[in-house]
């Protein structure tokens, strides 16, 4: 007689394989991949109970709790074990290790002697929600309204009044040539602006960038060669002027040459 447990284990195995494939191939389907990851974690707990605790006849809420917590805690312990492996805690090893636990537990569960008490009491197939249409609609509405509250909260956070500012910098360019400096501006003023940048040493203007137009969140950057600058007693200074006030320095940064 074909019992329910093998079918259940087969479904778990197939979904595990599908989940593993999607994760390893880095296929990004919104919602699906996170749900499959959640499935994997819960499947660890569920198959552990099937393999090693089914005779304890855990049902209902107790079964749900132990499935969740065994899943989470066994994954934690797995991470500790993986830390001692050559490969470490990376996506590939996680998928293989968790899938291995699920398959091993499933095999043990399948091979364990089936008794009359085993079959009908594994919790999932005996769950009945017993929700009528009205109750289902109320719960569905609850989920929708909760989701809407997230949108309200996120919109509120995005539109919160914040400070307006411009970032200005001059850093040694360590990538190629150590005599070069990277000079840059980023517009965080929440409006389009025009800037002027002057590089000078003391009162001596070395370079001027007269008209830099930036949209909000836009960045301008350039490299300036300081090889010709030999005076190390006075810093090289970059001065930023903001478009609506070209007389008063808006921001200054400096580098002392060695």
């Amino acid at each position: 007689m074909l019992t329910r447990k093998p079918i259940q284990l087969l479904i778990i195995a197939v979904v595990t394989l599908v989940a593993a494939a999607i994760i390893l191939l880095d296929i990004n389907i919104p919602l699906v991949r996170p749900l499959l990851t959640l499935f994997l974690i819960l499947a660890v707990g569920h198959t552990t109970l099937l393999a090693w605790g089914n005779h304890l006849a855990l049902r209902g809420v107790v079964r749900v709790l132990m499935t969740i917590m065994l899943g989470i805690t066994l994954v934690m312990v797995s991470g500790f074990i993986l830390n001692f492996s050559t490969w470490g805690l990376v996506t590939r090893t996680w998928v293989f290790f968790i899938a291995a636990i699920i398959f091993f537990n499933s095999l043990v569960a399948l091979l364990r002697k089936q008794t009359a008490s085993d079959v009908p009491t594994t919790s999932i197939q005996t769950w009945k929600l017993e929700l009528n249409a009205r109750q289902f609609i109320l719960l569905a509405l609850a989920v929708v309204v909760t989701g809407a509250s997230f949108i309200v909260a996120r919109n509120g956070a995005f539109t919160e009044p914040t400070a307006q500012f411009s970032q200005f910098w001059m850093v040694p360019d360590t990538t190629v040539n150590t005599s070069q400096a990277v000079v840059g501006v980023k517009n965080e003023e929440q409006q389009p602006l025009t800037y002027r940048v002057v590089v000078m040493q003391g009162t001596n203007v070395l370079q001027e960038f007269p008209s830099i137009s930036l949209a909000p969140n836009e960045t301008w950057q350039t490299k300036y060669d300081l090889a010709a600058v030999t005076d190390t007693t006075v810093p090289v200074e970059a001065v930023l002027y903001r478009g609506d006030d070209q007389t008063e320095p808006y921001r200054t940064v400096n580098l002392w040459l060695q």
Binding site: P34, I68, G88, L89, S149, W169, K186, Y250
Partner: protein, 656 residues
């Protein structure tokens, strides 16, 4: 044999304790499989969450109505559930559903507070550890903003696993994992209390009273190791209670399933694992004296020993910095408390923040009222539990005046070592309220809340139910319970989280979540893009977090480097002392936020605990002190956004 529906218990309720009074109730519980009010209350709570989100948005735009709406939404979430769970005739599944909905709704109250990213102080500590695990693929990495977090990486392991496999960010993964943990916590609480009392009604009521502890809404919902350790701990306690009376063979099998819980708890949070060891040991001792013949004490002793061995082993060989982390908090708190008793100091003024701001009158009344209510009702619960062995005695029968609902208490508790254990734990509550009167001890009192409330919620529930038997209380008992429970719930929320942190809003100086804002985040991201990876940088308390997480830099901290650099910021000029300090830690960059000079620090410190004038500031840090680096030779100002400047100070180091 009748049994509570869904066959949670394998052993039936003894018919000797099924009285005429409760038989109809049991029958209706068994027969009823309806969901009752659950769907409607779930929808009501969803609308309450919409109200919460609106409250937060109003507060962000500086509207006065934000706070009002916030408190109203909390009451809408709590009150209907509290009222409904008092009913003796609702289905068990409805009770479970309501308990879970309450826990989830209150969890989402915190999530809606910070819907874009983590913003609470402790969240950054664990976020940093998680990032390191994902980047390196290894545990026990160097986390300078919280060395102990790396040594207890349970939360970070599961979160990094979820993030790696799902493709979601650390923030999204952490929210999901802790959401699942919250569901498990509520299920665990319900089952735990139901197990002790064999009453679904008491199980539900006690579970929601646990939500009244001062850390439930915010502290234990944040992305922090304790938030995940609590559901593991509750599940373990429930499982021990569940397994305790089993035959030896089954008991061994139950212990095998316990081992992952114990191991995971050990590697997740130090304090929770210590508390669990203490509870298990106390439980075993109580069982030995109360009910030696049953042999429970032996099972409990074995479990306690196994747990102790694992916890001690981890603490000694891995988490060996934990004592350095916990010990100063406990020592300072105890010293200040004993000084208060000996009249050597004046203690802490209640409801006044470090900036001198005083909480509104209604908050003070409710906060103190909650404590008073708990202290008044607890003795009734303690009396019920303690007198139960003597109920059938001559004297016990003479003083029997209080009866309540479902099953007679003396049958439940007369041999119930766990009930007695919880009753003993409750005795710590008045002591902890004394610690709240001190500045250093406040932390101990507040942090003990989520553990003590495992016991307080239980004994309070027993106390409430025992009061039902008093004739003049009986007609108004339900309303009185709902009012009292609501006061305790609101009072817990008031005392657990400062007013300026409960709702989001404009930038405040050194105010944890209220100091996390786009300008600081943007500067930290710039630093991550343009400064060498793992550059040693020093900043104030909040920007240190941002530089670690968003900038992936290596902040210098007292915890990791055993050096306070705050004097470098406070000093009016850079002298030899300051140069020597910077040399000692090989400091590369200084991150200066001029906003520090605009206000006193709300949490009492600008940089780290132990800095000069720690918690005793009368004036903000001078702007001239912060701007002194502008005029120092060989100091490069590499970044300036008008508020924040970053200086390269590597050439200031003292030559050895």
């Amino acid at each position: 044999m009748q049994s509570i529906q869904e066959n949670t218990f394998t052993e039936p309720i003894s018919p000797s304790i099924v009285t005429a009074e409760n038989k109809a109730t049991l029958g209706s519980e068994i027969e009823s499989t309806r969901w009752g009010w659950f769907p409607a209350i779930a929808l009501l709570d969803a609308f309450a969450l919409m109200m919460t989100a609106t409250a937060y948005t109003l507060q962000r735009n500086s509207s006065q109505w934000g706070a009002v709406l916030f408190w109203v939404s909390l009451l809408i979430i709590f009150v209907p559930i509290a009222y409904r769970l008092l009913s003796s005739s609702i289905a068990r599944r409805e009770r479970v559903g309501l308990v879970v909905v309450l826990g989830l709704a209150l969890y989402l109250v915190k999530i809606l507070h910070s819907p874009l990213d983590f913003t609470f102080y402790d969240e950054f500590l664990h976020w940093n550890t998680t990032n390191h695990i994902i980047q390196s693929g290894r545990l026990f990495t160097d986390n300078t903003i919280s060395p102990v977090s790396s040594l207890y990486p349970g939360l970070e392991i599961i979160t990094s696993a979820f993030a790696n496999m799902s493709g979601l960010s650390v923030v999204e993964s952490g929210i999901i994992i802790l959401g699942i943990g919250r569901i498990a916590l509520m299920l665990g609480l319900y089952l735990f209390y139901e197990r002790i009392t064999t009453s679904a009604q008491i199980g539900g009521v006690a579970a929601i009273l646990y939500a009244a502890n001062s850390n439930f809404i915010f502290f234990d919902s944040q992305f922090s190791y304790e938030s995940l350790s609590l559901p593991i701990a509750l599940t373990l306690l429930f499982w021990v209670a569940y397994a305790n009376r089993k035959p030896l063979r089954n008991f061994v099998q139950h212990i095998l399933l316990m081992l992952p819980l114990i191991a995971a708890l050990t590697i997740t949070h130090h304090l929770t694992s210590y508390v669990i060891v203490g509870i298990l040991a106390l439980w075993a001792v109580v069982a030995f004296f109360k009910n030696r013949k049953s042999g429970d004490w032996l099972h409990l002793g074995v479990i306690a020993l196994i747990t102790f061995a694992i916890v001690f082993g981890w603490s000694k060989y891995v988490g060996n910095t934990t004592n350095a982390y916990l010990e100063p908090v406990i020592r300072n708190g105890v010293n200040e408390f004993s000084g208060l008793i000996m009249d050597e100091n004046h203690g802490r003024e209640l409801f006044r923040g470090s900036n001198g701001q005083v909480s509104p009158l209604w908050e003070r009344v409710v906060g103190i009222g909650a404590v008073v209510l708990i202290l008044v009702i607890l003795p009734f619960g303690l009396f019920e539990i303690v007198r139960s062995p003597f109920q059938q005695s001559f004297l016990g029968k003479r003083i029997n005046r209080l009866r309540y609902g479902l099953l007679q208490s003396w049958q439940r508790y007369r041999n119930n070592a766990l009930a007695f254990t919880l009753a003993i734990m409750v005795l710590l509550y008045p002591l902890m309220q004394g610690f709240r009167l001190t500045s250093s001890g406040w932390e101990i009192a507040n942090r003990s809340s989520e553990f003590l409330f495992w016991a307080i919620a239980f004994v309070l529930t027993i106390g409430f139910f025992s009061l039902k038997g008093i004739p003049f209380i009986r007609p108004i008992w339900k309303v009185a319970f709902v009012v009292c429970a609501s006061v305790i719930f609101l009072g817990g929320t008031i005392s657990g989280w400062p007013p300026w942190a409960r709702l989001p809003g404009t930038y405040l100086v050194s105010a944890d979540t209220r100091s996390i804002e786009p300008e600081g985040i943007s500067a930290a991201k710039w630093a991550g893009d343009y400064l060498s990876p793992n550059s040693r940088i020093s900043a104030d308390r909040i920007n240190t977090l941002l530089l670690a997480v968003y900038g992936n830099l290596r902040p210098v901290t007292h915890l990791a480097d055993d050096t306070y650099l705050s004097s470098v910021f406070f000093a009016p000029v850079i002298g030899n002392n300051e140069r020597e300090l910077m040399s000692r830690v090989d400091l590369k960059y200084i991150f200066v936020d001029r906003r520090l000079s605009t206000s006193l620090p709300l949490v009492g410190v600008y940089f780290e605990g132990g800095e000069p004038n720690d918690n005793e500031y009368t004036e903000p840090i001078p702007l001239a002190s912060l701007e002194k680096f502008d005029h120092v030779a060989n100091v490069d100002e590499v970044f300036n956004d008008g508020t924040i400047s970053i200086y390269d100070v590597s050439r200031l180091h003292v030559n050895p």
